[in-house]
C-alpha cells in the first residue's frame, strides 16, 4: 500500500504544469491554462454579445428612436467620433495630451490613497480581529464613523488640508480604509480555531501563530477587501474631484457639464469605467499570485 497509494491517482488530476512547477512558473502556467479554458468556454462570446446589446440599446434609443428622455444625450457614434478624433470639437480625445494628464492625475491619487488605506487598514484590521481588548476600544468609534459618507467629509477635508490635492486624497483614502480594515478584521475572525490550536500543539509561539496562521488565514478576506477598496476609491475620488481639484476624470466630467460638452462627459465616464476595471483586475492578479493555494484549489474545483 506504500507504493500504489491513491495519492498518485490524485496528483494526475491536477493539470501537469501546475502540479510539477512551483512559484512564478506555476502562476504563469496557471494563467495560460485559465486563458485557454476561458477562450474555449462560451463566456468571452457572451460578454461580447452583452456589450453589443448595451451599445445597440444606446444607439437605438438616442440616434434611431430619439426617445424624449434621451434628447440631451449624445449618441454612441458622436461619442466614439469625438473620442478618437484628431481634432475633437470639445477639446478632449485620445490624441490630446491633456486627456492622459487627467487619467494620470486620477490614477496617481488612487494609487496614493489606496496605498495608504492598505498599509494602515490591513494592520489595523488584523489587530481588531486579533485582540479582543483593542477591538472593544476602537470598534465602536470605527462603526460610528463608517456610515458617514465621504461626501459629508468634503467641507472638513477642505478646511483641514491645504491645497487642492490632499483633501481629494483624504476623501479617497477614507472609504478605502473602511473597506480594507473591516474585511481584514472579518478575515481574522473567520479563521477556524483549529488552525490556531494546531499551531499551538506544534509548538508555535504567539508571534509565530500571528505570522503563520492569522495573516495567511485572513488573506482571502483581505483581498476581497482590497478589491472593494479600490472600487470605492474611484467612487469617492470622483466625488472629491468634482468639488476640488484642477485635473482628474471627475473634474473633466464636472466641468464638461457646466460648459455643456456632453460627449466629453461620456468620454470621462467611459474612461473611468476602463481604468477602474484595470485597477481591480490588477488587485485580483496580485491576490491570485500571493494566494496560490487558493487559486489552485479553485482551479481544481472548476475542473471536477
Amino acid at each position: 500500500m506504500t507504493e500504489t497509494s491513491p495519492v498518485q491517482v490524485l496528483t494526475t488530476e491536477v493539470p501537469r504544469a501546475i502540479a510539477v512547477d512551483s512559484g512564478a512558473g506555476a502562476s504563469l502556467a496557471l494563467a495560460k491554462y485559465r486563458l485557454s479554458l476561458w477562450l474555449k468556454s462560451p463566456r468571452p462570446y457572451l460578454m461580447l454579445i452583452g456589450f453589443a446589446g448595451f451599445l445597440g440599446f444606446w444607439y437605438l434609443s438616442v440616434e434611431v428612436w430619439k426617445l424624449p428622455r434621451f434628447s440631451q444625450m449624445p449618441g454612441p457614434t458622436e461619442v466614439l467620433h469625438e473620442w478618437f478624433s484628431k481634432d475633437p470639437t470639445y477639446g478632449l480625445s485620445i490624441f490630446i495630451p491633456e486627456y492622459y494628464m487627467h487619467i494620470w492625475v486620477s490614477t496617481r491619487r488612487i494609487a496614493i490613497a489606496f496605498f495608504l488605506a492598505t498599509v494602515i487598514g490591513v494592520p489595523f484590521g488584523l489587530f481588531l480581529g486579533w485582540s479582543e481588548r483593542f477591538k472593544q476600544f476602537v470598534f465602536p468609534v470605527f462603526e460610528f464613523l463608517r456610515p458617514v459618507p465621504p461626501l459629508a467629509w468634503v467641507p472638513l477635508a477642505i478646511v483641514m488640508f491645504r491645497g487642492s490635492e490632499t483633501p481629494v486624497i483624504f476623501l479617497t483614502f477614507l472609504a478605502s480604509f473602511y473597506a480594507t480594515a473591516l474585511n481584514t478584521m472579518l478575515g481574522v475572525e473567520s479563521i477556524d480555531v483549529s488552525y490556531v490550536r494546531a499551531a499551538n500543539c506544534l509548538g508555535a509561539t504567539r508571534w509565530q501563530v500571528f505570522r503563520h496562521v492569522i495573516v495567511p488565514g485572513a488573506m482571502p478576506f483581505i483581498f476581497t477587501g482590497l478589491q472593494i477598496s479600490v472600487g470605492v476609491a474611484w467612487f469617492s475620488l470622483v466625488a472629491g474631484e468634482m468639488v476640488s481639484g484642477q485635473y482628474g476624470l471627475g473634474y473633466v466630467i464636472n466641468t464638461s457639464y457646466t460648459m455643456v460638452r456632453y460627449p466629453t462627459i461620456i468620454i470621462g465616464m467611459a474612461t473611468l469605467g476602463l481604468v477602474g476595471y484595470v485597477t481591480s483586475a490588477a488587485v485580483r492578479l496580485v491576490g491570485d499570485y500571493l494566494m496560490q493555494w487558493r487559486t489552485r484549489e479553485l482551479a481544481l474545483g472548476g475542473d471536477r
Binding site: T2, L10, T11, D192, R197, L202, P216
Partner: protein, 290 residues
C-alpha cells in the same frame, strides 16, 4: 501523594521500544460557566490511557469526550481533578489549564492542515517553529516520513489539491515529525465515507505498529473503537464519565478480517446495549433542551 513511575524500559535495548505517553485522568470535573449554575460536562472522570497502546473513548455526540481531549491538549481548563502525562502533571490543583505542546498533538475532527502551506511545509511546521531542526534537515526527514507513509509525490501540492483521506494521513505525519508522546485524535474519520474509513483504519494501525506512539482516540462509532483499541472506554452521556471499560484482547497486528471473527462479534454484543442506552439518553436530553 505518591506518583507512580512510568513504565520503565531501557533505552539501550533496540528491540524493546520505549513505552511512554501514558495519560492518567484523575477525578476530573469540568463545568462550563459558574460552578453552581454552569453546565456540567465532565463528572468525576477517572481512567488511564496506557503508554504505547491505543485507547478509544466512545460516547454519543456532545457527551463531553472532546472536552476531556481539549483538557489534555491544553486548549481549555478543568474545574477540578488532575491529568498526568507519564509522571508530569499537565493540569491539576494550582494549574487548571495545561500548556499545549508538541508532546501531545491533536489531529482534528475536520482536519487542520494549513491550506496556505504546501504539504511538506505543513509537515515541517513543528520542528521549524520550535527551532529544533534546520530547514534542510526538516525537509529531508519530512520527505522520508511521507514516503514511508505512502505519501510520495504530493510534497509540493497544497492540502486543497488532495483527497480528505490523504489529508488526514499528512496530518498524522505532521504530528509524528515532532516525536510526540501521545497522539490525540478527535473523531478524525467522522467526515469520511465508510470505504475510505476502512482504508484509514488500517493505515493508522500501520503507523501505530511502526511508531508505537500512544494514541487516545475519540469516536462515536463502536465498531471503529473495538477494531482499533487495546482498550475501549464507553462514556455516559453528559455529564461524561466512564460507564464501562473493556480490554480488547484481540491480538495485534489486526486487519479488517478481524471484523468477522467471533470474538469481535462478542465484544460488539457486550457493548452495543450500553452505547445504545446512552445514545437514547442523549437524544432525550436533546429533546428536553429544545
Amino acid at each position: 501523594m505518591s506518583v507512580e513511575p512510568a513504565v520503565m524500559a531501557s533505552r539501550s535495548a533496540v528491540a524493546q521500544p520505549v513505552r511512554q505517553g501514558g495519560v492518567r485522568i484523575n477525578d476530573v470535573v469540568k463545568i462550563y460557566g459558574a460552578k453552581d449554575t454552569g453546565l456540567l460536562a465532565v463528572d468525576h472522570c477517572t481512567f488511564e490511557v496506557p503508554p504505547g497502546e491505543i485507547t478509544v473513548c466512545v460516547g454519543p455526540s456532545g457527551c463531553g469526550k472532546t472536552t476531556l481531549l481539549n483538557a489534555i491538549a491544553g486548549f481549555h481548563s478543568i474545574t477540578s481533578g488532575s491529568i498526568y502525562l507519564d509522571d508530569e502533571m499537565l493540569c491539576g490543583p494550582g494549574k487548571l489549564k495545561a500548556q499545549p505542546g508538541p508532546d501531545r498533538i491533536v489531529v482534528f475532527q475536520n482536519g487542520a492542515l494549513f491550506p496556505w502551506k504546501t504539504n511538506i511545509e505543513n509537515v515541517t511546521f513543528g520542528p521549524i517553529m520550535q527551532g529544533v531542526m534546520p530547514r534542510a534537515e526538516a525537509d529531508d526527514k519530512a520527505r522520508a516520513m511521507m514516503a514511508d507513509a505512502g505519501l510520495r509525490g504530493i510534497e509540493h501540492n497544497y492540502p486543497g489539491e488532495i483527497s480528505s483521506g490523504v489529508r488526514r494521513r499528512v496530518e498524522i505525519v505532521r504530528a509524528l515529525m515532532n516525536n510526540p508522546k501521545i497522539l490525540l485524535l478527535d473523531e478524525p474519520y467522522r467526515a469520511l465515507d465508510s470505504l475510505t474509513k476502512s482504508v484509514m483504519h488500517e493505515a493508522l494501525l500501520e503507523i501505530f505498529y511502526k511508531n508505537r506512539v500512544s494514541i487516545f482516540f475519540i469516536t462515536h462509532d463502536l465498531e471503529e473503537a473495538i477494531f482499533l483499541g487495546h482498550k475501549v472506554v464507553i462514556m455516559t452521556t453528559r455529564p461524561c464519565r466512564p460507564k464501562k471499560i473493556l480490554d480488547i484482547d484481540i491480538p495485534h497486528p489486526r486487519d479488517y478480517s478481524v471484523l468477522t471473527t467471533k470474538r469481535f462479534r462478542e465484544f460488539m454484543e457486550e457493548t452495543v446495549a450500553a452505547v445504545h442506552e446512552e445514545a437514547i439518553k442523549a437524544f432525550a436530553a436533546g429533546e428536553k433542551e429544545r
